[in-house]
């Protein structure tokens, strides 16, 4: 099965939901025109990245009219949106939403919220509490957002949960000037890990970054699709708006896993036990197989003891 994937490397307007909804509609129309099956928008592209105290004003709940409007746009084309989500108990999340066939198919709430250096996400957002693969109409995918990918554990979990492709919306800022390379050093690091994950976990990495500037912070663009052999299927421009397409064939995953069945050989129990040891928690005891009759035998025995006690009391009287 071949999936035609488009990445809209947009430059959203900071804090302007209306303008960005219009941008989404425009790019979805473009995706449909280019016969894309699936369209990726970057992290927080419906709101802009440095939203800060605007968060409560631009948050959308899953059952809001705006979410419904977005869902309606996914009838001809599946797409990933990046937005601020509000939960029923009024926590705000940096969320990626997968829309398909007119509905929300899956939501991933960003787990790892960078709060150091130039980042301040944990001030505004609640952390997501799960890593899950999900079934799209094309196959089993996972959604991870930006910093989530800087923790190998998330890709590991998604791969073990059956994801054949990781969709990663991002709002990654450019930084680090190094001689002798065309891109900033942060871009270089991302390209290295995207390729590393694709080959190590034998899956597709579909990385959608944004472009533009906010308060002097530029976003490096460079969106890309990497196949399980580490080959670049699509690549967007650095530092500019762009719209790229790539054909993803899930048969490639099968071929790579046939040649190198690394996931098959992964020992999850070892990982669990060693993590528990490092964390200072006792390893789980192996479960004793309960024999069905054992309970009945014990009950019978107890009754016998009771009976014999009664008899001995009667005898004594």
């Amino acid at each position: 099965m071949t999936i035609r994937i488009a990445i809209a490397q947009v430059n959203p307007r900071l804090g302007d939901l209306q303008a960005n909804m219009t941008l989404y509609q425009e790019k979805i129309r473009q995706g449909i025109k280019e016969r894309a099956d699936l369209l990726m928008f970057p992290e927080l592209s419906l709101t802009g990245y440095y939203v800060r105290d605007m968060v409560p004003n631009i948050a959308l709940s899953a059952n809001s009219p705006e979410m419904k409007n977005l869902a309606a746009l996914s009838r001809e084309l599946s797409f990933v949106a990046g937005l601020v989500e509000e939960s029923a108990d009024h926590r705000f999340f940096n969320s990626a939403v997968y829309f398909e066939g007119g509905a929300i198919r899956h939501i991933h709430r960003k787990v790892y919220l960078p709060t150091y250096g130039m980042f301040d996400e944990q001030r505004y957002f609640a952390r997501g509490d799960r890593i899950r693969a999900f079934d799209s109409k094309f196959g089993r995918f996972a959604l991870l957002v930006c910093e989530d990918l800087w923790h190998p554990s998330t890709v590991y979990l998604a791969a073990l949960d059956g994801a054949l492709a990781i969709l990663c919306p991002s709002s990654s800022p450019l930084r680090g000037i190094v001689d002798g390379q065309p891109q900033d050093d942060n871009a270089r690091y991302w390209e290295m890990i995207n390729r590393g994950y694709a080959e190590t976990y034998s899956l597709f990495m579909i990385y959608g970054n944004r472009s533009g500037f906010e308060d002097g912070v530029g976003f490096w663009g460079g969106s890309e699709i990497i196949d399980p052999f580490g080959q670049q299927i699509a690549k967007a421009k650095y530092y500019e708006e762009d719209f790229v397409l790539g054909e993803v064939s899930l048969d490639t995953v099968r071929r790579k896993r046939t040649m190198a069945p690394l996931l098959r050989d992964e020992d999850m129990d070892l990982t669990i036990n060693e993590l528990l040891r490092v964390r200072g928690r006792p390893a789980p005891q192996p479960k004793v197989q309960k024999v069905r009759g054992a309970k009945i035998q014990r009950r019978k025995k107890a009754l016998k003891v009771q009976e014999s006690k009664k008899i001995s009391r009667r005898k004594r009287r």
Binding site: D16, R52, I177, G212, G218, Y238
Partner: protein, 273 residues
């Protein structure tokens, strides 16, 4: 020996995109920049010309009677090369009129007054011409506090604020700024014979290497000494950075409410853009 990365191709690409994006998103199409004839303002002007088109950049030369005549000649070189718009406004009469009332003022006070007078002229022209004021302060002078608060430090957007002087020189040369400008001794030209490096007591290349390690790479004091920087130099620069922090922040506001500007009232400058 520590080498500061200069990747001029990448810097040029990013900084041109920065000027274009940050200006145009405000709905404005033009910038004004003070042209001192020095390498910083020359570079800033060229970046803006490439980003916005030369006819959308106005370079304003603002000499005082004691300014080095080379300054104006160098500024004119930049104007010719880049084909930007230009204007000359002599500030002698207004500065002298003011100091007639305070004739005892020292060179430093006079220098700061000139810097702030230039700022007011740039802002007036930004209103006159519907433009933004383009900054020229580089990272070295910003970290050391070697600039006039609300004078040359004032601007709307500043493409050089994260470049060390070493990088400004490299990028200016790569973009074709005349070698006469790139290679001359940097000077604020606020009094005759003034040079930055004499005033500071060290060279830009030396302090840039230290700042790169100390600030960008967060070396500890022990690591800095192991790298070969002298203790007194480390101490002097550390002190200058700390003591000039006030120049890099908004004025201190007394917090009395539950929500105070710039403390718990937090929005991006590009809010809505």
């Amino acid at each position: 020996m520590i080498q500061i990365p200069v990747n001029t191709t990448l810097l040029r690409r990013i900084l041109v995109a920065f000027v274009r994006n940050e200006v145009e998103k405000t709905g404005i199409r033009r910038v004004v920049v003070g042209l001192s004839g020095g390498v910083d303002s020359s570079l800033s002007a060229l970046l803006a010309a490439e980003a916005l088109g030369s006819k959308n950049v106005l370079g304003i030369m603002m000499p005082y009677k004691s300014s080095n005549p080379d300054s104006q000649a160098h500024a004119e070189l930049v104007v010719q090369k880049s084909a930007i718009e230009s204007l000359a406004v002599d500030i002698t009469s207004q500065i002298d009129a003011y100091f007639e009332c305070f004739p005892e003022a020292d060179a430093k006070r006079r220098g700061n007054k000139m810097a702030r007078e230039r700022m007011t002229i740039l802002y007036d022209h930004s209103a006159r011409w519907n433009a933004l004021v383009l900054g020229t302060s580089n990272k070295t002078e910003l970290l050391l506090g070697y600039g006039t608060l609300y004078g040359d430090m004032a601007s709307a957007i500043n493409p050089l604020g994260d470049l060390y002087k070493t990088q400004v020189w490299a990028l200016a040369e790569a973009m074709g700024v005349s070698l006469a400008i790139v290679q001359k001794r940097p000077s604020a030209d606020l009094w005759v014979g003034q040079t930055d490096e004499d005033e500071l007591g060290f060279s830009y290349r030396d302090v840039d290497r230290l700042l790169y390690c100390m600030v960008d790479q967060r070396y500890t004091r022990a690591e800095l000494m192991a790298t070969g920087f002298a203790e007194p130099f480390i101490d002097d620069i550390s002190r200058r950075i700390m003591n000039s922090q006030f120049k890099r922040r908004l004025p201190v506001i007394a917090k009395v409410s539950q929500r105070t500007i710039d403390r718990d009232f937090r929005y991006s400058r590009d809010w809505g853009k």
